[in-house]
Symmetry: C2
Subunit: 229 residues, 2 copies
Amino acid sequence: MATRKAPRRTAQRILESSLALFNRFGEPGVSTNAIAADMGISPGNLYYHFPAKDDLVNALFLQYEQALQPILDAADAVTNVEDAWFFLHSLFEANWQYRFVFRNLNELLSRNRHLEARVREWMDALGRSMNALLSTMQSHRALLAPPLGWDTVGTSMVVVQVYWLSYEYVRDPRKALEEDNAQNAALRSAAHVLSLLAPYATSGQQAHLRHLIDAYGVRQAEAQANAAA
Amino acid sequence: MATRKAPRRTAQRILESSLALFNRFGEPGVSTNAIAADMGISPGNLYYHFPAKDDLVNALFLQYEQALQPILDAADAVTNVEDAWFFLHSLFEANWQYRFVFRNLNELLSRNRHLEARVREWMDALGRSMNALLSTMQSHRALLAPPLGWDTVGTSMVVVQVYWLSYEYVRDPRKALEEDNAQNAALRSAAHVLSLLAPYATSGQQAHLRHLIDAYGVRQAEAQANAAA
């Protein structure tokens, strides 16, 4: 039995190494030979498990989707601002684990047709979960109905959530995707998507929402002060 | 005099051809040799004007910034919803002319250090103009003060505006950046950024805002009906 499991473990190890290298250097900057060298295995061994680099990317995207699904499924249990904060933070943590996707999403798509349809489905699933969250919060009287319906609010939440890491990367290409930045990036991302709900929050939820977003504001001010010092 | 102007005209023609090819096929997919072949000039002639492909990209980004500047400068003359719509539409039209930047922004940055600082300044300029627009609209009683200040609203407007084309590209990689889509893409982009103002619009502005965004909604419904037919 042990020998039959060995290839599977190798495949999993290859995925873990690939993910770490893609996240650190960007997917276009990492060849399959570099992954094999990093792991101390032969290129032929890697090729046996993943004949093309796209196979690695597709397998990692599948892992990401599997990590995301239970979070998205919880969207219609979000009844208040505190739940929404936790939900958005969890979403962002899954994104962070697979941040190479968010650094080069459109470039990945331009080279990988298989991913094209999958990414569209993923965007649609994100949109549906945002709409579920918004209407559940409204039915629990945490949000007031918006003047134009929830669709455009939900789409903005998707765009800000999906492109937040790209935005941070543009603002600071050397540091934005470094491991040390994970916690602050998660706070900023969750606070920012949450801020899109601020104008709709009912009076009972406003103070708590402001508190959550101010906590992020304080951290941001601290970071700016540190940068200036 | 005519002979002295010739190189300048060639340089300008090279930029125009590059822009058209980059927009159509994406910057990574177009080599300087392909640009020279498309124009019917020798690679050496192109190289004489632009020794590296990054020189072309940088010159085009400078053109984009120059096209954008007079629009951004008009942000503090935006006093109502109609002005805001026109402003956002104009911004989007400049983005559309240089849409190759928006398809591969982060990949461009990862290969071009000169662009890194320029893009950061551009993002900051966008943020300042959004804040100018928001506070001018508030001082003209077109918007109510938001619960959390304008900064997070302004940042969301920047993120949605900058990444809207990326989002459309992900949703439909084959058609999103085609010339035929320009008008609808401009409407969707402007409507979407404008929708972020909806919860703050004063009662006198609400109906007009709704009208502008509904016009976009009708078009979207039509597009979906056409796609289903």
